[in-house]
């Protein structure tokens, strides 16, 4: 097959996959946080990503350097997240999972349409003005923006992990995730924790979106792809497993690229979903074994 005929291209796919995976991992990280702390599966995750992209695009049009724009997009999304929390999420937190899925799904539709109204339905992109590295006589290309995105994603992930470990608010967030009632009894203002967690997640998505618009293209209805991928990464990694999220993100990015290369682009997503099913079945099987043991 073509993969073996030209082994050099597998290196290309691997590099690209891992670099891409870092951006997905970033969005997934936020989703895992919200899921773990608030027990909410945020189905508007992808829309947050796209909104972050559009904010960077708007800033870029106004003459702001795109790399300065990344934190600005994150800050803007932080407030969007805060507002959405106080309008919608506060009403559904600690309720049935089904309700939260419906509510965040509704939020996703609303955000799509609002972005469509405000920014237009056109495909947009930001050119960060970076070049490409060539290896092996042009056979392998590495986009500098992807490398930069990779490191920004890793650094952001590290900062977040440190924030959760070291700061008081971070500790409160982790306490809430472990046991909401116990945290409340011990004086943690869980409402504030929820608000911060949700806003923090939005901010992470905003940063991821800023990287997406510089690497690929965005349009108001492209969010679903990011929601689905985040969801998948979190499932594969398992909840509350930070390192797992990062590795699952990188791995999925690479696997996806290989699947697209070998099976054709039409099976790229299908392959990932099949993988998800296999992992879930495998995990279920493992859990059953454990139950047997407990008996």
């Amino acid at each position: 097959m073509i993969l073996f005929a030209a082994p050099i291209f597998s290196l290309q796919l691997l590099i690209d996959g891992i670099l891409i995976g870092a951006i997905f991992a970033l969005a997934a990280y936020g989703m895992a946080l919200v899921w773990g702390v608030m027990k909410i599966i945020n189905f508007s995750q992808g829309e947050f990503v796209i909104l972050g992209g559009f904010i960077l695009f708007t800033l870029f049009k106004a003459g702001v350097n795109p790399f300065v724009g990344i934190p600005l997009a994150a800050i803007a999304l932080y407030f969007v997240g805060l507002i959405l929390y106080h309008i919608v999420i506060v009403r559904i937190v600690e309720q049935d999972l089904f309700i939260s899925i419906l509510a965040t799904f509704g939020m996703a539709i609303l955000l799509q349409q609002l972005m469509n109204q405000i920014f237009g339905a056109d495909v947009q992109t930001v050119n960060p003005g970076l070049d490409t590295w060539f290896l092996f006589n042009n056979a392998i290309t590495v986009l500098q923006i992807k490398v930069v995105s990779f490191f920004i994603a890793i650094i952001l992930g590290g900062c977040l992990a440190a924030f959760l470990k070291k700061t008081r608010l971070g500790q409160a967030i982790r306490a809430t995730a472990q046991d909401t009632r116990a945290a409340r009894i011990l004086g943690v203002d869980t409402n504030k924790v929820y608000a911060t967690t949700f806003a923090l997640n939005a901010a992470i998505c905003g940063a991821a979106g800023a990287l997406v618009v510089m690497t690929w293209v965005i349009q108001p209805f492209a969010g679903l792809a990011y929601t689905v991928r985040s969801f998948m990464i979190v499932i594969v990694a398992g909840l509350g497993n930070v390192a797992g999220v990062i590795f699952a993100g990188l791995g999925l990015g690479a696997v996806e690229n290989f699947a697209g290369f070998i099976l054709g682009a039409e099976f790229q997503t299908a392959f990932i979903f099949s993988l998800l099913v296999i992992i879930l079945v495998g995990r279920n099987f493992k859990l059953r074994l454990r139950r047997k043991y407990l008996k």
């Binding site: 073509i2 291209f9 056109d122 290309t141 997406v212 293209v217 792809a225 689905v228 290989f258 997503t269």
Partner: protein, 414 residues
């Protein structure tokens, strides 16, 4: 709780009263001296940009025809107007609105929506009520194999979009002293009816020349990245890369071939103008071949606008941007109606339908002549190449104002 409920009820009732007051009179097909057309066009949703182009195209004709006195039917001159609804970019909604236009608003002449999807939503409705629809934005050939009698399309159907690129590649191969059958084709199209039609047209023509299709990828709807496909292009080195995936596909193809420095002698795509690849990517967009329904450099003319170039000027003066072909084909659809109404000399929908079917009209957009399935068979697709940031028609030869640059210069030389 009770007060909340009461508030809600009051709100609903007052909204209903409010909308009744402002709904105005029911629109009839002809009101006084105005003929009213109906159209469900996407003002919101993912087609809203092209929906705007469609509406602008319609409105420009309305304005022009009314300025020139109007339409003469049965010895009386009528002004024209269009009643719009927003189909929210969904076929089902477009169908409902067509029903509403015909049944509730009693409109007898329907203009098409934007896109093959919504057009497919409306066609069964107009067929059911035997109301003619002339459309300029539904190109999928699946619209024309259902035996619809009241559907007429002024544009070229989608399988013709990029077939010309295959002829061009064959010509170039011959010129270079190679057998056209040695040409290798790579296809990457979105998995939707429109792009799959394009693929069918390309495959059909490639088979005619005995060319080999080395890559045949169907891109997902939620396409964000073409790296895997483009890596394959690098590995297999085809002569022609065909990409179709609306604006998203166009933007990604141009951006990522440049970023990954994919050297392919010919890159042919659709929706260059809609994605504004020149404005977004500048020099990276050069040498890309773009399929277009219409170009302002074409030499067709009519009594309403003059030459294609005149139309472009008028359009830009009115709306502040040069007309994309989506606007031009929408304008042409209205012109077909005007012409048919005058020839039918009646408002009888059957007579108007027959007059439309018998259309043989030159417009600024091109010749319009329908076959029995309702598609326009008199107008070819044009292929333009982006050269130094400008769109230069290069094929078919009849409309070419420049020569195609083939192969595309390698990225290292650019």
């Amino acid at each position: 709780m009770a007060s909340k409920q009461r508030f809600l009820i009051t709100l609903v009732v007052s909204l209903a009263v409010f909308s009744l007051i402002f709904a105005g009179p029911v629109w009839a097909k002809v009101e006084g001296d105005t003929i009213i057309f109906g159209a469900a066009v996407s003002f919101t949703g993912k087609y809203s940009t092209n929906g705007k182009h469609t509406k602008n195209g319609y409105d420009l004709v309305v304005k022009r025809v009314n300025e020139m006195g109007g339409v003469k039917v049965g010895g009386k001159t009528y002004k024209i107007a269009i009643k719009y609804y927003d189909d929210e970019s969904t076929p089902a909604r477009a169908g409902q609105l067509a029903d509403r236009l015909i049944k509730q608003d009693e409109i007898k002449f329907i203009l098409g929506p934007y896109g093959s999807g919504p057009t497919k939503g409306i066609a069964p409705i107009t067929e059911k009520y035997k109301i003619p629809m002339v459309e300029g934005n539904g190109a999928s050939r699946s619209l024309f194999n259902k035996g619809y009698k009241y559907l007429f399309a002024v544009l070229s159907t989608s399988e013709q979009y990029l077939a010309e690129a295959i002829h061009l590649a064959a010509e170039q191969a011959k010129e270079a002293g190679r057998d056209p059958s040695s040409v290798k084709i790579a296809i990457a199209v979105e998995n939707d009816p429109f792009s799959m039609d394009i693929r069918a047209g390309v495959v059909e023509d490639a088979e005619k020349y005995g060319m080999k299709v080395v890559i045949d990828d169907k891109l997902p709807k939620e396409l964000t990245d073409m790296t895997a496909t483009l890596t394959k292009v690098k590995a297999l080195k085809p002569d022609v890369l065909v990409v179709s995936g609306h604006s998203k596909g166009a933007a990604l193809a141009v951006r990522q071939t440049a970023q990954m420095k994919v050297d392919v002698p010919m890159l042919a795509i659709t929706h260059c103008e809609a994605a504004d690849v020149v404005g977004k990517f500048g020099g990276d967009a050069n040498y890309t071949l773009c399929a277009t329904q219409w170009a302002e450099t074409m030499t067709y003319k009519d009594d309403w606008f003059g030459f294609a170039g005149d139309y472009a000027e008028d359009f830009e003066k009115e709306y502040g941007y040069p007309p994309p072909y989506q606007a031009a084909e929408s304008s042409a659809a209205v012109l077909v109606y005007i012409d048919a109404l005058q020839r039918a000399n009646s408002f009888d929908t059957e007579k108007v339908r027959d007059a439309i079917a018998a259309t043989n009209l030159q417009t600024f957009y091109g010749w319009v002549k329908f076959d029995e399935t309702g598609k326009n068979i008199a107008k070819p697709m044009v292929l333009r190449q982006i050269q130094k940031g400008r769109y230069v028609p290069v094929a078919p030869t009849k409309f070419a104002s420049g020569k195609v640059i083939y192969p595309r210069p390698k990225w290292v030389d650019r």
